[in-house]
Assembly symmetry: C2
Homo-oligomer: 420 residues x 2
């Protein structure tokens, strides 16, 4: 049984005409499936309107009540979309998060999905009824309404696709796919036809905004193939799928960048066991995520430690460190809030030689100084001065020839070109 | 344990400021109760907005989907009101129809309450937490969302008051109580301080718009005392309660009237057994409610039959009758759509002599011709020409001295006057 799960975001269902268009698109999709599930968000603007009402009434609104409030937006959309599909002569039935069986923990406003109990909808799907499901929401073990936080509707779609063993999970949005880099920085950016879950995960974590990292993570863990497509234009979109042999032949799939970064440096810290633990425990205790950490070679028993945190947390991290700095006797603490990170991501990085050198060279040709470096199996990130970020992105995009379709992919796609 | 159930309608929670006001009123009520339940409607205008969206999308919207859609309005209000109460430093928790245990049948858009399973909220109430409950909605045995139709929020409040054995169910609305008659017709109309369930039931059925008949019926069946009060003004409101000995001493409690009436007359119908059954079966089959029926004394084996139906159903009733008229060979069928009904209601009607005569006399003094009469134990209704309705109401109000507080009531209330 071929099952398709589709997800349409708030802009795609933003008014009556768009809901009707989504109804038509779902019916088209039904023709190529044995069962269709459509997950929708609240109509664009509705969630903000509700949040605004809540803030007017209680700026420190209880999170359980916020979830009760915010879960209504998606319920409106599912009812309207089901009606729109029925108006075209097809069968549809709306399901709330509870009704479709999204069971979460009790962390209101950012609940985690524990399990999906959706076997009961299989009969309906088999009969050709389109299941229209409220994204972003679930129910905890105590029957309380929860919401899943940012990107929650994507997560609902992926979780349902996993539970239903769907052939594909299609994420419809206002961009037509995943690009080699941000097209607003590099107009030569090219839409990727395919990318692996791991590459997409790195891209998402490093600042690509098309999908939330936890959605991709979920898709990877349950091996759900995702397609990101535009609601408003025809096109193939980008397939995000499990890794295959061909993929590794493409050294670099994309260039990511982010300004959401601040660097903290502790100068002349005693180079003794336990010092680093003291520093990072103080920060971790307040749930601040540390990204890169660099420790210099020590001289005279003293060393410098630098690390990056989200820029919005920079000052708070500094405050948290104050007592620790006192205790360990660091000479000086500095906060740099004008840095950025550029990264190259690709499965080929782990098997090709000289990729890092090529990256550093490209940056150096532009006169860009590298402040910090970090690497993983499939990505290399450099921290640089924020002012150079866009120039760095363009230089890396050119150096790795990302504006051109890779030969391997072209061969696979059956168009001109020679396989490597 | 003294439990109070309050209900606030859509106008009372129409914007942020009004929701805050309702929060303050609930907290005041908590001081005079051991447990407080507050039932709310959707913010004024929201339900219409949703219905309008539905009609734009599908003019023949599925009723299950309509209920899914319409149930969201109350969910918004409960979350906001709970937040508003919390902002004032008190405890509150919102409950959907499902969460509070309103179990209904599966008649979407006008479901009937089958039972209320709300024992689980008793602990919360005992701890001083205000339960904020979504009116108008429930859930059927298959876990589908249902709504209760017009006046549904009042019904939710009364049903909860019955299940929780509440001391009182307070219905807050935009009028300050139940009046002896419609004050827009008779400015001398007086707010009743008390009225029996039965009288209120007749008043509601006969056109008084303060409460829906089925809400009063439910309150009567479960002996729930109701108070109707204004949200916006201080005042005692009207207590609707079980009958006591004093009440019967007031002959007439109020005058009701309605224009929502049409009369159908079948002339020269054969006066044989089974004819009336044939006529009224045809109409009942289409769920048209027949109110009064009058059959004249027969002459030469022929008779005239007149009856009233809701005015909106008049033409349809006529169409339904066409084949029957053919069959039974009536000489002529007439539809009169310019009639009205005026009624007097009071427990004392059953025990006092000459009440009907006094009514007919009052109408005749005004030169008003009576077209049809029907009586029950505690009401007398006359059908008249619509043009005379307002004059009739004023004449009856004066004839039964309804502008003056009855002596019996004054005595009971402990103010001046002599008990009868």
């Amino acid at each position: 049984m071929r099952i398709i799960v589709q997800k349409y975001g708030g802009t795609s269902v933003g008014d009556v005409e768009r809901i009707k268009m989504v109804a038509r698109k779902s019916i088209q999709a039904l023709q190529r499936a044995d069962g269709l599930v459509v997950v929708v968000s609240a109509m664009a603007g509705e969630t903000n309107k509700l949040v605004d009402l809540a803030h007017q009434i209680n700026p420190r609104a209880d999170e359980r009540e916020l979830d009760m409030l915010l879960s209504t937006g998606e319920r409106v959309t599912i009812a309207l979309l089901a009606m729109a599909i029925q108006a075209l002569g097809y069968q549809a039935r709306s399901f709330t998060g509870r009704q479709v069986g999204i069971v979460t923990d009790s962390t209101y406003t950012k609940a985690r999905i524990k399990r999906v109990e959706c076997d009961h909808i299989m009969d309906l799907l088999r009969q050709g009824t389109i299941a229209v499901v409220a994204g972003f929401q679930g129910i905890d073990e105590k029957q309380q309404v929860t919401t899943l936080g940012r990107g929650g509707s994507d997560l609902t779609a992926v979780a349902l696709a996993a539970a239903l063993k769907a052939d594909i999970c299609e994420i419809y949005t206002d961009v037509d796919g995943v690009y080699t880099t941000d097209p607003s920085i590099e107009p030569k950016a090219r839409r990727l036809s395919r990318i692996s879950h791991d590459e997409m995960l790195e891209m998402a974590s490093l600042g690509a905004k098309v999908l939330q990292a936890r959605c991709v993570e979920f898709a990877k863990r349950h091996n759900v193939p995702l397609v990101v497509k535009s609601t408003f234009e025809e096109g193939e979109g980008t397939l995000i799928t499990r890794e295959d042999a061909d993929m590794e032949q493409v050294v670099v799939a994309g260039v990511a960048c982010s300004r959401d970064l601040a660097r903290i440096t502790l100068h002349e810290v005693a180079d003794r066991p336990g010092i680093a633990a003291r520093i990072f425990n103080a920060i971790a205790a307040k749930n601040i995520v540390v990204d890169m950490i660099i420790q210099n070679i020590s001289e005279h028993g003293l060393t410098d430690i630098s690390f990056t945190v989200p820029r919005s947390e920079g000052r708070r991290a500094l405050e948290l460190l104050a007592p620790v700095v006192e205790e360990i006797g660091a000479a000086e603490t500095k906060l740099n809030e004008t840095i950025a990170r550029v990264s190259i991501v690709g499965l080929g990085i782990r098997s090709h030689q000289g990729v890092a050198a090529k990256m550093f060279e490209a940056l150096s040709r532009e006169g860009i100084n590298i402040l910090m470096i970090s690497t993983s199996e499939i990505k290399i990130s450099c921290v640089i001065e924020e002012a150079y970020m866009e120039r760095a992105v363009r230089a890396l995009h050119a150096a790795f020839e990302l504006d051109r379709e890779p030969t391997a992919v072209r061969a696979r796609a059956g168009t001109a070109g020679t396989a490597r």
